[in-house]
Symmetry: C2
Subunit: 284 residues, 2 copies
């Protein structure tokens, strides 16, 4: 079997080109104003800093702007909430991204939920999650929404397929399970208390690794002809799924890196543009 | 195997007795004020009218009050939203129940979501759903929350079990899947596009019938020793699951009627009391 490479990098680049055109068009009808994504980075985690920088760059590449707010490691929940309130109120800010994870003393959920739904371009609020789950218009959590975009780009059949999502985090595994269910897959959500993970994975037509542990999902568990999506990223370009022998045996595979990561960023940018477009319509 | 009957009627009665004591206590600290559930019935569906009446009676039995608003079949979304706004603003109303389903011309989701989160004692809002899904404090959707209460009452093990939920409606199947997942089951959410439902059900340690079709799930599909929860109710006391031969072969079974139904109502009443308790605290 020749495997399809789900080339997130290429699809993201293609999407970026389209977004650049749309951004230029928006600026023309909007008095030259540039859409702005505000990113908040709390503390000094080097990978988080890198992600925030990549997201800012992705905005600028398509003609949007990004404003990064860096807060110290010792920031309190109250201080972070104040900053979010400020960005919620700023009319020139269209999207707000609070980089996950935040330092332990901060109530991340409370801070996520303080972001105005209209500006929640990273799809992290509980209301946004609920609306997405109910098939109502909402910005989906960027990583699973990016995965859905990638699967759709390659016309990967989802309806009626058995999908197994490994990991149930609030911004990855849970929304992924609901998005796949809404696309008519039969979804099993696995996690640390799943007794026989191998057996679950073995049945899957679509496997999503969203567990955050390097090579936790063994290649030998994955059935022939499955679609394999790896949302993990660990130092050294290692994903959540052991890649050995998947190529040639699976129907489609995301590379790590260059699969899910670029789609996350592209989705964030696309959702920021959509928020800016909506804001322009509302104000005109 | 001697099957446990998950006797919702008995558990609900036991809960009601506890709630009556709590309600009496609340009235004492709250200047004699009686907690009130407002129920809205739109149109003339006879089963909906019966449900609303049963819910009102359940409130009164424990010393709470209920106020039923009946709106005509031709009610518009705007008219219903206005009524909800009025109840949201009424300080003496602690809980609001909009009886599902509403007539087709009404945007039910929009109306559900207009209910203030603090008064959403039936657990129908997208925000409430999102909060429940994220393990944040929220009123759960009454039927799945009632099922969780019933399972916990009988100490049915959930962690690590394979749960299969058949049906993915916004107020039953979807929240049920997330509640079971949050209780550490490995959950598969099945629906009309599931290819081999029999095979999914056959693997389940816990089966929840939430599909709304009489005897849609065959008894022969259910494995020995499974826990069987039937959330369906159809004329003539018929559930979603064919009951033949389940007794003696399954570990635990909900009867229809007398299983899930009474727990739904008891949960609604319990959540209304909790809302009233919270309101009393806030105002004192």
């Amino acid at each position: 079997m020749s495997s399809i490479i789900l080339d997130g990098k290429a699809v993201a680049a293609q999407l970026a080109a389209a977004l650049a055109t749309e951004t230029a068009a928006l600026k023309q009808v909007n008095g030259g104003r540039t859409p702005i994504l505000a990113t908040i980075l709390v503390g000094d985690d080097p990978s988080s800093a890198t992600y925030v920088k990549m997201k800012g760059n992705a905005c600028r590449r398509i003609g949007m702007d990004s404003r990064t707010i860096v807060l110290p490691q010792a920031t309190t929940t109250e201080e972070l909430l104040e900053k979010i309130d400020e960005l919620n109120a700023a009319p020139d800010v269209h999207g707000i991204l609070l980089q996950h994870p935040v330092p332990h003393q901060i109530d991340e959920r409370k801070c996520f939920d303080r972001i105005k739904t209209e500006k929640d371009v990273d799809g992290v609020t509980t209301t946004g999650f609920g609306m997405m789950a109910m098939n109502e218009p909402a910005f989906g959590s960027a990583t699973p929404a990016g995965i859905m975009r990638l699967l759709r780009h390659y016309d990967v059949p989802i309806e009626g397929k058995r999908a197994v999502v490994v990991g149930r985090s609030p911004i990855l595994g849970k929304p992924m399970a609901l998005m796949l269910s809404n696309a008519n897959a039969t979804v099993t959500l696995c996690h640390s208390r799943t007794i026989d993970l191998e057996d679950e994975v073995r049945r899957a037509d679509i496997v999503v690794g969203a567990v955050g542990k390097p090579h936790f999902i063994r290649a030998s568990w994955i059935k022939e002809g499955a679609v394999v999506v790896d949302a993990g990223y660990h130092p050294g370009g290692i994903g959540d799924i052991e890649p050995d022998g998947l190529l040639g045996r699976c129907k489609a595979v995301t590379p790590v890196p260059g699969g899910v990561g670029p789609m996350t960023i592209a989705t964030l940018v696309a959702q920021t543009l959509a928020a800016a477009q909506r804001a322009a319509k509302t104000s005109s």
